[in-house]
Each structure stands twice: as structure tokens, then as C-alpha cells.
């Protein structure tokens, strides 16, 4: 599914290297988690994969089902099935959540050569998904993320993910700012989407989320690289011991 090889990335405007050779394979149907100290490059990786401006890829590659991602515009990557749940979801004043999603859904359909979803079908679809995530009708009408609480923003990201039905879902700290109940809702939302042909890359700082969304593989990212890979037990180890040992190994 997602295959990243020797990815090196610097800032466009500055001579600052952020990713220093990332190697990562996420097979179809699998859930991988990435943990790592603040500033290690996790969000940067998610941005580079989804095509945000401001970064320059100096070496390496990233493909989704064999298709070179790095050559595509962000919307083409989205249509190819890549979804990013933002660490900091963006507010768009004056644009209703529903209008936003409908525009997005239909844009992707159009890009894939499919028919637009009718207004009635869309409404049915979004109501069902919103109900699962306990998102009320009012929140669907309100402008995208404007005045949403931190937890509401994150739930809204998962709603979008559910509506867009991507192949490759990247979740950047979707658990931060969630209360216990919201964490459960979000996890259930993610678990409900788990499927053969769909993979997840879950960026998180905490074991808690991984209690709900059981990862197949856990990676540790530090200083712009994946420095350690293991099973779910690796997350527990980090939870208990922090990154000190891992970082010490790197320095050695």
C-alpha cells in the first residue's frame, strides 16, 4: 500500500533538513503506529506525503499502490485515496461543514470519473456517519471547525474520513485533546473503517489510543528517521520508559 524509501526532506525556504531518510512500508489492511519525541518529524512526514507546500524532497520516494505520490497535487493524492486527519484542523469561516464535505466528496468522485452523489443520498450518508460519531445536526451546519472544541474538531476529522472512504488514512495525534468518551468514539469510528483494502498510519504520543486501535506494527521516529520498529509491545515500552534509551542507542 504505502511505501516510503529513503525519504529526505528539507524546508523550502531554509537550509534545514527535517526528514533524514525515512523508510516505511504499510501493507494493505494494516494499522501502523508512529511514536516519537516532539519535533522528530512525524507531522512533517504526514504533510510531505499529502503534498503541503513549503517542503523540498531532496532524496527518496513515496508511493501509494505503486503510484508515485510526490509528483501529484494534493487533491490528486486525495483522489488516489490518501487522507490526513490534521493535528490542527483548520477553520474555514462561513463555509458550512456539510457544504464543505459535499464539495469534497463530489470533487473526489469527479476526479475518479464517478457520478456526483445526489443531495438526498449525501444527506442520508452523512447523517448516519455523524450519528455514529455523536456529531449533532448543528455541528454539521456550522462553519468548518469554527468555534469547535478541540475534541469536536478531532471527531469532525474522523467524520470526514468516514465520508471520503480513503485507502490510506494518516491520523496525526487525533487522540490529543480528546476526553475518555470521545477517545472511544473516535477509536470506534476508526475501527469501523478497518478493512482489507484500507491501511492506517496512526501518529500518537500515547498508549491509550493504541489500547482501542490495536496496531499491527509500531515505529519510533526520532531525529527525522524511523529508528526502531516492533510490535504493539514497543508502544508499552515507550509509555513506561520514555525515549531516553532509544535516543541513547542512537548517540552511541
Amino acid at each position: 500500500m504505502l511505501s516510503i524509501k529513503g525519504l529526505e526532506v528539507k524546508l523550502e525556504d531554509e537550509d534545514k533538513q527535517i526528514l533524514k531518510g525515512v523508510d516505511l512500508e504499510v501493507p494493505a489492511g494494516k494499522v501502523h503506529a508512529i511514536m516519537g519525541p516532539n519535533g522528530s518529524g512525524k507531522s512533517t512526514l504526514s504533510y510531505v506525503l499529502s503534498g503541503r507546500d513549503g517542503y523540498e524532497v531532496t532524496a527518496g520516494s513515496a508511493t501509494l499502490d505503486g503510484e508515485d505520490l510526490l509528483d501529484l497535487d494534493p487533491e490528486e493524492r486525495a483522489a488516489a485515496g490518501l487522507f490526513l486527519a490534521f493535528q490542527y484542523p483548520v477553520e474555514i469561516p462561513g463555509v458550512g461543514n456539510m457544504t464543505f464535505l459535499r464539495t469534497a466528496v463530489n470533487a473526489q468522485r469527479k476526479a475518479r470519473g464517478e457520478d456526483e452523489m445526489s443531495a438526498a443520498d449525501f444527506l442520508k450518508f452523512i447523517r448516519a456517519k455523524a450519528k455514529d460519531l455523536k456529531i449533532d445536526a448543528d455541528m454539521l451546519k456550522r462553519p468548518v471547525n469554527v468555534g469547535f472544541s478541540g475534541g469536536e474538531k478531532k471527531r469532525n476529522e474522523i467524520l470526514q474520513m468516514a465520508m471520503l472512504e480513503p485507502k490510506m488514512c494518516i491520523l496525526d495525534e487525533t487522540d490529543s485533546g480528546l476526553d475518555v468518551d470521545a477517545m472511544k468514539l473516535v477509536s470506534e469510528g476508526v475501527n469501523a473503517l478497518r478493512a482489507e483494502g484500507r491501511s492506517f498510519l496512526v501518529i500518537t504520543h500515547y498508549q491509550r489510543l493504541l489500547d482501542h486501535i490495536k496496531p499491527d506494527v509500531v515505529h519510533i521516529m526520532a531525529r527525522g528517521r524511523i529508528v526502531k520498529t516492533g510490535g504493539p509491545e514497543l508502544a508499552l515500552e515507550v509509555e513506561n520508559n520514555g525515549y531516553a534509551d532509544i535516543l541513547a542507542e542512537l548517540d552511541a
Partner: protein, 507 residues
């Protein structure tokens, strides 16, 4: 109403939109008349009438002379015919140029002295002339403080200002807010300095006529570094038959000041068309900012196109100082004919002009409206968002000029115009004029990104929208926000505009 009930709605137009347009363009709510004794100047216009108006307003000699020279000019001018408007010839001699309630012959000392009939009129229009908080219990008004807001009102009835609220409180802040006739008497130095300095007497046919015969209107002066402590507004009501209303508004925002100003307009329902020709001049000095909003709801005429107001308006803001800013917002739902292009002269370096317009036309209404952004200074920015919505047999034209002068280095304009046709007998037209006389400036139409927030763009594109779709969505959202920020007590209708989506729109 009949015009819309049997409407043949085009496919792709959202139901919510049709509903909103139906409500907005539906039966005219302000068509009633106030029974009140009036005093008129003789019909027609000539130097004697001009002198009479000047005399009624107790004007000094220089003002009378100013008017007379305008009249002399006007007589030599021809009515313009370039707009996409079609209306029977106006007989300028067959109407009254001055109409005043008899009870206003002696100027009321205070609001308590105003003829109860006039007070009742404004109350019925939803604009109580009382110094009270306006309650914010309006949907979508979350941003307003719960205890309400203060809005000062200047109420103009036919040819005269009936009264202005909160004058004393404003005076404490150094703000002058009064009728223009009072300003001519009380603040001649300011009027002399600024009147005609933005819209010269010679500007255009209707502005020249207005300069000769304007009877009243509002005057605003905000002193340096002052944020006007409340919203200011003028409510124009035409009541008398066969009478033209020619109002004049002059707003001066001195250095570092800020004011938000709103005007509303309504008129009774009559079979004969009536003329309204206003001039608005705004002067904005260094670091000052003016927001000017209009909710125009003149009587639009009936379903057959009989009657209604012919609305010929010249509005212009001169951003004289560096970093000065002006924002025009207009919601145009009324008038049989609208001819109006609120403009921005971006003279100061880094000055900014914005224009947001929604024009809804129905039945036989015609609107030819738009804006002019004249970039003279360096690093000036302008943004135009215009939406025309037509139903019935209406015609809606956007006419815009963006001009970048040689010294307007590194200047930017962004323009977005949409039209929505509801039904198949109406028309929409877009007439953009663009002149760029230096090579460091950019004029952008629709599908560009530069002034839209990068984070928002990326968010939309990550969800699958292409750049063009993303910009349109974000800018539309912005325009809705602007509309939502309008003081709603003037026009609850504007609320409903927020429900309008332009899906299924053309051009």
C-alpha cells in the same frame, strides 16, 4: 407571491436557495404609506428650485453658489445610456425635488419634539428612534454582546432629516454625526474642505444633479485615533408621491480612526416610478478604516414592472492616507432599476479596498451594479466578491473596473463574480474592465490562490478539491461572514441570504 410560486426552477439550484430567494424577493413588506401633511416645492427643477432648497436648509451663500454652478453644468449634460438598463425616459421636470412634512417646518429641538406620526413610521419600519440598546436576539448574531448594541440613527424622511439619535454621547467621543444640512450650518469648514472632493460636481449626470438639488443626508466626522463608540446608520424613507429623493452623505475618517456605517432604504408601493439619486463620499486618512454597508430595499415595482424606485447612486471612497481601508458591503434586493458602482480610490500606499455585493432581482427588476478599484498607490490591495441572483424576468449585470496605475507597484486585486439564474426568463451579465499599467501588479480572476489563506487552501485540497474549487469555497464563506456581520435590525432578510448557496451558478 405569484412571480415566484409558478417559478420554473432550473435543475441544480438548491431548494434552500430557492426558498431564501422566495422570501427575499417575495411580497414587499414596506409598501405602506404614512398619511402626513406635506409641503412641496413646485414641480420641476430650475435655478429657483435650487435656491429654494438651499434656503429651506438655511444654507450660507457659498453653498447656494456651489449648487447653482452644479445645476448649470447639469443642464449641459446628457443622461448616460451605456448601462444594460431599459426604462422609459425620465421626465426630470415632472416631479418634486423637495418635500417636507409640515410638522418639520420648525426643526424639532430634540427627539421628543418629533411629530409622533414620523416616529410611528420609523417604529413600524423596525427602526425605533429612541436611544436604546438594540437587542441582539437575532439568529446568527452570536458575536454580539448579549446585552445588546448601540446603533445611532439618522432618519431621513423624503427631503429632510427627522432626527439623529445618540448625538450627545457621540459628541463626547468627538464624533460628529448629524444631517448634512446641519453640518453645512454648524461645521462649514469641514464641509467646504471635503464636499465634492471625492465625487466632483462634474462626475456624472446623476451626481451633478444631486450636487444641485440634494436636500439632506448624513454627515460623519471621526477625529484622529478614535474608534467610533457605536455603529452609525442612516435610514432613508421615501414617502411622498412623485418626489425624488436626493441625499448626500459625507463621511470623514481622520487618521487612525474607525467607523462602521450602515444605510437602509424603503419606499411605499406605487404605480409610478420614483427617482432616487444619491451621492456618498468617504474620505479615509492614514491608518483609518471605514466599513460602509447598505441594505437597499426600495420598492421594486410590481410583478408587471409597474412603479418602483429608479436608483441612480454614486458612491466613492478615497483612501487618501497610507494603510487606510474601506469595505463596501451591499445587499440589494429592491428598486426597479439600480445603477450603482461603489468605488475605491486606493491612493495611499498599502491602502485596501473591499467590495462585497449580493444583488437579487426578481420580476422586472434590473440591476447594473459593480465596483471600481482604482489602484494609485504602491502595495495596494483590493478584493471584489459579487453575487447576482436573478429570478422572474429580471436582468442582473455586474460591471467592474480594476485599474492599476503606473505607480501602483506590487498591487493586487482579486475578483470573484457569480451569477445565479433561478428560472429561464431572467438574465445575468458580467462586464469586467481591467487595466494594468505596471508589470509588478496582479489582477486575479477567480481561480487563484494568493490572497486566500494557505492553511485553508491545503486543507481543502487535501480533501480533494482543486485550487479553483477551494478558492471559490473559501471566498464564498468569507463573503457570507461579512453579510452575517451586518447589523440585522435593519434587515432580517440579510440573514436569509446566508442560506443561499450558489450551487448551480453560472459565470
Amino acid at each position: 407571491m405569484a412571480g415566484l410560486d409558478d417559478l420554473n426552477v432550473k435543475e441544480g439550484v438548491e431548494e434552500e436557495t430557492v426558498e431564501a430567494v422566495k422570501t427575499l424577493a417575495g411580497a414587499y413588506k414596506y409598501g405602506w404609506e404614512t398619511e402626513i401633511e406635506m409641503e412641496y416645492a413646485p414641480k420641476g427643477v430650475n435655478p429657483d428650485i435650487v435656491r429654494l432648497i438651499s434656503e429651506k436648509n438655511e444654507e450660507p451663500e457659498w453653498m447656494t453658489e456651489w449648487r447653482l454652478s452644479a445645476f448649470e453644468r447639469w443642464e449641459k449634460l446628457d443622461e448616460p445610456s451605456w448601462a444594460l438598463l431599459n426604462y422609459p425616459e425620465i421626465d426630470f421636470q415632472d416631479q418634486y425635488y423637495y418635500a417636507r412634512p409640515k410638522s418639520m417646518e420648525k426643526k424639532p429641538e430634540s427627539l421628543d419634539d418629533v411629530d409622533p406620526k414620523l416616529l410611528e413610521t420609523y417604529k413600524k419600519l423596525g427602526i425605533p428612534l429612541k436611544e436604546q440598546m438594540i437587542l441582539a436576539g437575532v439568529e446568527g448574531a452570536e458575536d454580539m454582546p448579549a446585552e445588546g448594541r448601540k446603533v445611532a440613527v439618522d432618519a431621513v424622511f423624503d427631503s429632510v432629516s427627522v432626527g439623529t439619535t445618540f448625538q450627545a454621547e457621540l459628541k463626547k467621543a468627538g464624533v460628529i454625526f448629524c444631517s448634512i444640512s446641519e453640518a453645512i450650518r454648524e461645521h462649514p469648514e469641514l464641509v467646504k474642505k471635503y464636499l465634492g472632493s471625492v465625487v466632483p460636481v462634474s462626475d456624472n449626470y446623476y451626481a451633478t444633479l444631486n450636487s444641485a438639488v440634494f436636500s439632506d443626508g448624513s454627515f460623519v466626522y471621526i477625529p484622529p485615533n478614535t474608534r467610533c463608540p457605536m455603529e452609525l446608520s442612516t435610514y432613508f424613507r421615501i414617502n411622498a408621491e412623485n418626489t425624488g429623493q436626493f441625499e448626500r452623505t459625507l463621511i470623514i475618517a481622520d487618521k487612525g480612526s474607525y467607523v462602521s456605517y450602515l444605510e437602509g432604504c424603503t419606499a411605499p408601493q406605487r404605480d409610478t416610478a420614483q427617482l432616487h439619486a444619491a451621492v456618498v463620499e468617504i474620505i479615509i486618512e492614514e491608518d483609518a478604516e471605514v466599513k460602509y454597508s447598505t441594505v437597499q430595499n426600495w420598492y421594486p415595482g410590481d410583478e408587471e414592472g409597474k412603479g418602483g424606485i429608479y436608483n441612480f447612486v454614486t458612491k466613492r471612497a478615497d483612501c487618501r492616507g497610507d494603510r487606510s481601508k474601506v469595505m463596501w458591503t451591499q445587499v440589494e434586493t429592491g428598486s426597479a432599476v439600480t445603477w450603482k458602482y461603489p468605488s475605491c480610490i486606493l491612493r495611499g500606499a498599502e491602502s485596501q479596498g473591499e467590495f462585497y455585493s449580493i444583488a437579487i432581482t426578481n420580476n422586472h427588476q434590473q440591476a447594473d451594479t459593480g465596483t471600481k478599484m482604482v489602484h494609485l498607490g504602491r502595495d495596494t490591495k483590493s478584493r471584489i466578491v459579487s453575487k447576482g441572483i436573478s429570478a422572474g424576468k429580471a436582468q442582473n449585470t455586474y460591471r467592474g473596473l480594476v485599474s492599476m496605475h503606473p505607480k501602483a507597484k506590487n498591487s493586487r486585486n482579486y475578483t470573484q463574480c457569480d451569477s445565479l439564474l433561478i428560472g429561464d426568463k431572467c438574465g445575468a451579465h458580467t462586464v469586467p474592465y481591467i487595466e494594468v499599467k505596471n508589470n509588478s501588479s496582479r489582477v486575479e480572476h477567480e481561480a487563484t490562490t494568493s490572497k486566500v489563506d494557505e492553511e485553508q487552501m491545503f486543507y481543502c485540497r487535501q480533501r480533494g478539491m482543486d485550487e479553483e474549487e477551494a478558492v471559490a469555497l473559501i471566498v464564498n464563506g468569507f463573503a457570507k461572514e461579512v453579510l452575517q456581520a451586518l447589523p440585522m435590525e435593519f434587515a432580517m432578510e440579510a440573514q436569509q441570504l446566508v442560506a443561499i448557496s450558489l450551487e448551480g451558478s453560472v459565470g
